[in-house]
């Protein structure tokens, strides 16, 4: 038995699933002042329906706690120290002005200047803020300088220090730094939330492990998530995508685009092989680039309750859809016409009172053929969606290519299906399907897709291994491990080392056994003065992500 809890903008949802059967679904209003209250209300409603939560294996919370805390900008600043080394001027790239220290590491992990910790001691005596982040350019190739900084800060009494190289093992100094910084900033608040949630669930006799959903669509136990709290940002869209996957809406054979149409916004994601595509770069938080992994997604302010407006230019009528929300639709008692009303009048969907939709639309286009005008409004909304889809396609097409083989074979994404979920605005996706000449599928039971996604998400964990045989060591940045290379060393040995480390993590955090897979692998022979000097291996692996099981049916009660 699996429990999923998802905090949305309006409602907090809870679902209980067993062996692919959704046993209970419940909704409670989201309580913005303290989201935990709403979570517990929804949970209590669901358990009232399902009875005892026997054999509960896991509870997953997808909450807005980190997202909102960072977006509101009310958190006290954390302390940040960096070793930038030579390169780009980083002014303005970090959320706070960092303390810059001397010391640098080059691209092969060689320390080209030792660190000078004296300024750190001075800064500590002036502002002993609780948590800190430290980051060094190429810290993922050699974490020593970051460790020295962290040690000095911990000795000076800081509670927790986040390292850039542990935030992500991938290259991009600025993104790693910002991830570590936001983790430091949100850490205390997130820890309080986690311990309160754990306590409240314990009071309800829930003894199963409690996981948190992350932006990459995977889960981790609370204690593990506390190591990188920033990853619990933007979980709503991730949960929605996983819900779509769990509902079995995506044809694995064909690349596709999913659109989750809500009242206010539409979330768009890309699919290949039945799985959502991951974004190439990390998420942007408060305008700062981070290394937080997420899906290749876009949210646009366009939904069933979007406001309609019109302007006249030289006698020609131009319609606008959104970005404000006015809803609900006039058909179900709203004041003004919304996109939902236009979809009703144009004949794409039917719900509520169609006569009220007509009346509300007539205010926008007095004396004209309502059906024709409604079609134009729908076309405007469709054009807006297509614009965003085209941008996403263009962005995907700009992914870097490093080999001739990539160019010759092509890595293009050509959608061959649309998947629509959410609310009463599915007509919009039908219209989009007509415009793009793509088949549309609309799965059943999408009312609590987000909570279903949260309940069924697999744990995710990824790590890198880099070995430079000239230098004689390998490093797993996520672990801070830097060890002598076993001999003989080759690609297979590298995979074994990394696989072993990932499985050690699985054991430590008591996750269900899961296979690993290689995300990327590079191998270069290094040459100096026309002679071989060694090999560089660069490997990334992860626990296979996805969902634990697909939803086969809805057999239980619903409390909405």
């Amino acid at each position: 038995m699996l429990l999923g809890l998802d905090v949305g903008g309006t409602f907090t949802d809870a679902v209980i699933i067993e062996k692919g059967q959704v046993l209970a679904q419940a909704k409670a209003p989201t309580t913005h002042a303290d989201v935990l209250e709403g979570i517990l209300n929804a949970l209590d409603k669901a358990t009232a329906l399902a009875g005892q939560l026997k054999n509960l294996e896991r509870a997953v919370i997808s909450s807005t706690i980190v997202t909102n805390a960072l977006a509101e900008g009310k958190l006290p600043p954390a302390f940040l120290a960096v070793c930038c080394g030579p390169g780009m001027n980083t002014a303005g790239k970090f959320p706070v002005a960092p303390l810059q220290l001397k010391g640098c590491v080059d691209h092969r992990g060689k320390i080209t200047a030792p660190i000078d910790l004296a300024p750190l001691a001075r800064a500590n005596s002036i502002a002993p803020a609780a948590n800190a982040a430290v980051s060094c350019k190429f810290g993922v190739r050699q974490p020593l300088l970051e460790r020295q900084m962290a040690q000095a800060l911990l000795q000076a009494g800081r509670r927790k220090v986040f390292l850039g190289s542990e935030a992500s093992g991938e290259l991009n100094f600025i993104r790693r730094t910002n991830s570590a910084y936001f983790s430091a900033q949100v850490c205390d608040l997130f820890r309080t939330f986690c311990s309160r949630a754990e306590k409240a669930l314990a009071e309800r006799q829930i003894k199963a492990p409690v996981h948190i959903l992350k932006a990459d669509g995977g889960t981790l136990p609370l204690a593990a998530a506390l190591e990188q709290p920033v990853e619990a940002v933007f979980t709503g869209p991730a949960a929605s995508v996983l819900g779509i996957e769990a509902l079995g809406a995506v044809d694995e054979e064909r690349p596709g685009i999913s659109l989750d149409v809500g009242g206010t916004t539409t979330d768009i994601a890309f699919w290949q092989g039945g799985r959502p595509l991951a974004a190439r770069r990390g998420a942007v938080i408060n305008g700062y680039n981070t290394a937080v992994r997420s899906f290749h997604m876009r949210s646009i302010p366009l939904g069933g309750d979007s406001k309609l407006s019109v302007s006249l230019v030289n006698g020609e009528r131009f319609y606008f859809v959104g970005p404000q929300r006015v809803g609900p639709a006039a058909a179900v008692g709203g004041e003004a016409a919304t996109l939902g009303d236009a979809l009703i009048a144009a004949g794409y969907i039917s719900f509520g009172d169609a006569a009220r939709s007509h009346k509300a639309l007539a205010a926008l286009c007095p004396g004209l053929d309502i059906k024709e005008e409604a079609k134009k409004i729908v076309a405007t909304a469709v054009a807006k969606l297509r614009g965003v889809i085209d941008e996403m396609l263009a962005e995907w097409a700009r992914q870097p290519v490093y080999t001739v083989d990539d160019i010759v074979k092509g890595t293009e994404f050509r959608p061959r299906q649309l998947i629509g979920v959410g609310g009463g605005s599915l007509g919009l996706i039908k219209a989009l399907g007509e415009a793009m000449d793509l088949p549309v599928s609309i799965p059943q039971g999408a009312m609590v897709a987000n909570a279903i996604g949260a309940a069924l998400a697999r744990p995710t964990l990824s790590a890198g291994l880099r070995a430079d045989t000239t230098e004689g060591h390998y490093i797993i940045p996520e672990s801070g491990e830097r060890k002598p290379l076993p001999r003989p060393f080759n690609r297979k040995a590298a995979e074994e080392l990394l696989d072993r480390w990932l499985h050690e993590q699985v054991a430590t955090w008591q996750l269900a056994e899961q296979e690993t897979e290689v995300i990327s692998a590079e191998h270069f022979r290094t040459i100096h003065g026309y002679y071989d000097t060694g090999d560089i291996f660069d490997l990334r692996m992860q626990l296979k992500p996805g969902i634990l099981q697909k939803v086969a049916g809805f057999s239980g009660e619903v409390a909405l």
Binding site: G87, N89, N172, I174, I407, E522, D532
Partner: protein
């Protein structure tokens, strides 16, 4: 995202699966550390930079600049189509005004590849700048182009292709040919009569560094560019003038290169050589990219400057000599060109002999090249070229060809005369191949 004006378009293609041979300077590893540095800096995230992926160039694109024997396609790999295609993508981005400038950070390189190709020389098979220049003329009607070659080696391939074209200004500074491959690039190689002075060679004393280079730029190159008024500036951005380069003996730093990029403000830069793959390329490329994007590059400094020596007085002296001599040559070019044109006989033919060595494959080529200027005074007609070539030791054995190149805007009578020569040669059948290149169309016809 779309309404934001991007400053720099970046085509980054490190060709991690292409090499000449395993231990060759042109091997998979060449741009590995550069890729790592650019990724680690987060340059691809900058709002001023837009990334482009290369495409495969068409055979016509290659054939506007080259005549391959037996054919270009038989001589190149897929990688060459991609690196040439990367330059075309950069050109499109600039010409469509999606970005202000572009940098094609691609390999394999090209500036030693001449018009006629029998194999690989100086790591190059096709000339990616020349291919791009011809593309710019065909697709966008660009006329006046300046190519500034900042590679340490003389770009003898580029010089060869642009030698007869008064609308292309080719400026190359490089380590003196008496001390470095390919051994050419002296002041008197200044162009054929009609294009006299639009090839500007600036052979520098070994060990010249930032000071000498910038003195030369400020006091000569900048003035020449100002005078020529090109519609577009292309930078053949070789990076082997760096003090740590294993193949050459100059003293330029990453700062020196970045400042040069900042002053030159090239519309399109194309990577050429540069083989200090660990100590120079990561920093030089970061510097050039930042400078071209209009960003602060002052913090781009090599971590190890211990190999940087002093520029001695001989370097400065040479720079001063060049400023005077090359300045005189360039600024008096029109008078000199007219004199040379007047000296031609009534057949209006100018000819030269060339011995070309392909270091990579050990090919020895003999060429007789002739420029046949238009005898009919047709407006804008630049006549045609004939090239008789014989090469020993190619991968296809010894081979010979008679080649006719029909220039852009060639008048009907010159075109006819060109074909007549080709057919005559065919009848005589002393060569293996008779080939007709139509530059505007990008076709090479085997008769």
């Amino acid at each position: 995202m779309t309404d934001e004006k991007k400053t720099l378009g970046l085509v980054f293609f490190p060709a991690f699966d292409w090499m000449i041979s395993p231990a060759h300077p042109e091997r998979q590893e060449r741009l590995l550390y550069t890729r790592d540095q650019l990724e680690e800096e987060g340059l691809f995230d900058l709002p001023q930079i837009r990334e482009y992926r290369p495409r495969l160039a068409a055979i016509e694109d290659l054939q506007r600049a080259h005549v391959g024997v037996p054919s270009v396609d038989k001589l190149v790999t897929r990688a060459h189509y991609v690196s040439a295609g990367g330059c075309l993508v950069a050109a499109d981005a600039v010409m469509k005004k999606e970005v202000e400038r572009a940098f094609a950070l691609v390999r394999p390189p090209g500036h030693h590849a001449m018009r006629v190709v029998h194999g690989i020389r100086g790591f190059c098979t096709v000339n990616i700048e020349a291919i791009m220049a011809e593309y710019l003329r065909t697709k966008y009607n660009v006329k006046k182009i300046a190519v500034v070659d900042t590679d340490v080696h003389h770009g003898d391939g580029s010089q060869d292709i642009f030698y007869h074209d008064p609308d292309t200004l080719y400026i190359s500074f490089h380590q003196d040919g008496r001390t470095l491959y390919p051994g050419s690039g002296f002041l008197d190689e200044a162009g054929s009569p009609l294009a006299w002075g639009t090839t500007v060679n600036l052979p520098l004393q070994p060990r010249t560094g930032d000071r000498g280079l910038h003195t030369l730029y400020d006091n000569l190159i900048a003035h020449i560019l100002e005078d020529f008024q090109p519609e577009l500036i292309i930078n053949s951005a070789g990076q082997d003038n760096h003090f740590s380069d294993p193949l050459a003996s100059m003293q330029v730093t990453a700062q020196g290169y970045a400042r040069l990029a900042d002053k030159l403000k090239a519309d399109i830069a194309v990577l050429e050589g540069g083989y200090s793959i660990e100590s120079a390329l990561p920093y030089v490329n970061t510097g050039i990219i930042l400078a071209m994007a209009g960003l602060d590059y002052s913090k781009v400094v090599e971590p190890d400057l211990s190999g940087l020596g002093r520029e001695d007085e001989r370097c400065d002296q040479r720079v001063r000599q060049l400023i005077t001599a090359a300045g005189e040559l360039y600024f008096n070019r029109k008078e000199e060109s007219a004199r040379q044109m007047a000296r031609l006989g009534s057949d209006k033919v100018w000819a030269r002999r060339k011995h070309i060595y392909y270091d990579e494959e050990g090919i020895r080529e003999e060429q007789q090249e002739a420029v046949h200027y238009c005898r009919y005074d047709s407006d804008g007609c630049r006549g045609y070229l004939t090239i008789l070539t014989a090469a020993a030791g190619t991968r296809f054995g010894d081979q010979s060809a008679f080649i006719v190149c029909i220039t852009r805007n060639c008048c009907a009578r010159c075109r006819e005369a060109a074909y007549d020569e080709a057919l005559r040669e065919k009848k005589r059948s002393k060569v293996q191949y008779v080939l007709v290149q139509d530059i505007a169309a990008g076709t090479v016809e085997a008769l």
